[in-house]
Subunit: 397 residues, 2 copies
């Protein structure tokens, strides 16, 4: 049987495709530190679970396609704290940030249209592009520039009549880059001059370190009709398994169109929505503590990496990832070798080969994405294992 | 701002787009019987809620992209009861049946490819087609034939080089048709002769009345590489809000491809999966009682409809819907009128205009889909209201 060209062409998730190798290592009794996936070990707030335990309805009915009223209201309140002002028609609850991104692409692009995305980028953008039939056009950014954006002309020369949107994660995954106000303004200007949407993936907005200030694209009133926010509770409340996100825009006509997609899939899981709605009652100190914790972890990882011989890495200022260039040829081979062949006291490390985070052929082959969302003690051990592994890896260059 | 052509072209859900009209009627104090939506009033089994109330993890982590092991195992056991045999690699848990359908279309069709679907069909198939860039080619079926399939030649003449699959709901929504073995075999032969996939939406398989026997496409061993099952717990366990479904096929290569889509959106809501996994412990008597209850409701609705003057309707043998042709010109106008202008003792009825369930222009304009998943007493009242409304509706012909 022949499958569709588009599904055959899709890459496997570089974050998840080596999971069977890790599972095999664990079966052999090895402990594996998972630096490959953004799964925090932070406690999910008790506020999430309370209303779920108390759920007393007899029938688990469809929710509204837009999302339950309590959750939409709580999201409005949440954004107000960030000086972002949405009406109730501006928000649709989605199956995680993932669905918000797919909806954004379908709503703005037809088949064969193009979206500009700074690379390296969250690898699943490729998958969403394939699903939606949209071509990803990378804006290449470089480790030595802290993954900041290139000059305006470098970006505008990528624009064609098929370009419909710029998709950007701020702070960046996998780069940890936090874009400056000037960068945000530059993209705003480009969007206005070339009539583009900006799809802003801001799921890591809480996690900005070193005193930097986060600026949302939703803060730009003059392009509020062009800005589509995609968001998720997964990271800020350590609730990845809830699959609760949202798509939001002050362009009400756009949201009416998106509502058709939401109605098509009926609704988002009701019980998780009920839990998510109560997160508005989590004290702000929770987020602040989590941020401080990640900041500490960032320091552990970055300090270790910068002392490793042959490793190149700029300090990331946001999210909980860092891209490191290693003194090797093929990061996937190295990651597999670390799992299969290497250990320190029967412990090893799993990372995500970075190639899958690039759209440009050949980039990222000697890079890995390291997620620092496990605890500092484990991160120290993991960094030591990585360092020792690099010393003896047969493919070291 | 210009949105994509595909989203602008999408129809609003005919099931949900008139909800604001119903909401307005309710605000004015009218009671509305919702016959527009397949939202059962049947109690969700307590087995669903128990493990959710007892969930004690500190971190609500991502689940496996395939679905949690307990749920996959429980689905395997569930299918065994229906003499359908899947391995653990044959099943991927999805966000309701909806996501299973989207995955099926993306995996089998490229942009511009075609899928044959007996019409009238579940209206959201149109939306999934638009999202996936796949053209729906209707196999028209008729009320006077009980919505059974036409002759083989009628179907095969619709096949082009772009045809990749036949998508069929059995029992049918909105028709209530239960396909005979001969029909199933005919589609099998067509699939073999024209190298097509069969995407079988069997979410209503439990609800077959009048002693008819349900046959699954998954029972056909000789085309197991061509059959993709899409399923959901929504209807059989009255758990629509859980958004737990699955896609299943014994074509393991296909499932490997589908796994890429599943990995792209990370996972399905964890808490609802935990509840769903425990449904395997619901006694078989629950399903039998629910089926008997729907059977009784079917009788209430059908008996009432066949006695209404000018109404044409064949007895549906499965699911919990019936298509009725009314002595009117424009069903949407009639449904709005019933909500806005008509009541019996301040009560009225909402139905789904059937036009949106057809792909062929002009069909279904004088038809409505009636869902009989509310209790028999209310259905009796609702049928009386419909009958009285039809008598005085100004647009009656």
């Amino acid at each position: 049987m022949k499958y569709s060209d588009r599904i055959v062409a899709m890459q496997e998730s570089p974050i998840r495709k080596l999971v069977p190798v890790a599972d095999e290592a664990k079966r052999k009794g090895k402990k594996v530190y998972h630096l490959n996936i953004g799964q925090p070990d932070i406690r999910t707030p008790k506020e999430f679970f309370e209303p779920i335990r108390n759920f007393q309805e007899n029938v688990l009915a469809y929710a509204h396609s837009q999302g339950i009223k309590e959750l939409v209201d709580s999201l409005i309140k949440y954004y107000e704290k960030h000086n972002i002002y949405f009406d109730k028609d501006d928000i649709i609850v989605t199956n995680g940030g993932s669905e918000a991104l797919i909806f954004s692409l379908i709503a703005t692009c037809d088949h064969g249209d193009e979206v500009l995305i700074p690379e390296p980028f969250y690898t699943n953008y490729n998958g969403f592009g394939s699903m939606a039939g949209v071509n990803v056009v990378p804006i290449t950014t470089k480790a030595e520039c802290g993954f900041h954006l290139p000059e305006k002309e470098e970006i505008t020369k990528l624009i064609t009549p098929k370009t419909k949107a710029i998709l950007i994660a701020n702070p960046g995954n996998p780069t940890g880059a936090v874009y400056t106000k000037d960068e945000i303004y530059m993209l705003r200007d480009i969007a206005k001059e070339h009539n583009l949407f900006i799809i802003a993936d801001e799921v890591y907005k809480e996690f900005v370190y070193d005193g930097l200030e986060f600026m949302s694209f939703a803060h730009l009133d003059d392009i509020s009709d062009r800005v589509i926010l995609t968001d998720s509770i997964s990271k800020r409340y350590s609730a990845c398994g809830a699959r609760i996100g949202c798509i939001a825009s002050r362009n009400k006509d756009l949201m009416k169109q998106v509502m058709k997609l939401a109605q098509g899939r009926l609704c988002v899981a009701t019980i998780e929505q009920i839990g998510a709605a109560n997160l508005i009652n989590v004290p702000d100190s929770y987020i602040e503590e989590v941020k401080q914790e990640y900041w500490k972890r960032r320091d552990v990882v970055y300090d270790a990496l910068k002392d490793m011989e042959g490793v190149v890495c700029e300090k990331p200022h946001g999210a909980f990832y860092v891209i490191a260039k290693l003194p090797i040829k093929d990061a996937e081979d190295f990651v597999v070798w670390m799992l299969n062949e290497f250990d320190v006291n029967n412990e090893t490390v799993m990372m995500a080969p970075a190639e899958g985070f690039y759209a440009t052929e050949g980039l990222g082959k000697d890079e890995v994405r390291i997620s620092y969302c496990i605890n500092a003690e484990d991160l120290k051990k993991a960094m030591n294992i990585l360092n020792e592994g690099l010393k003896v890896y047969p493919g070291r260059i």
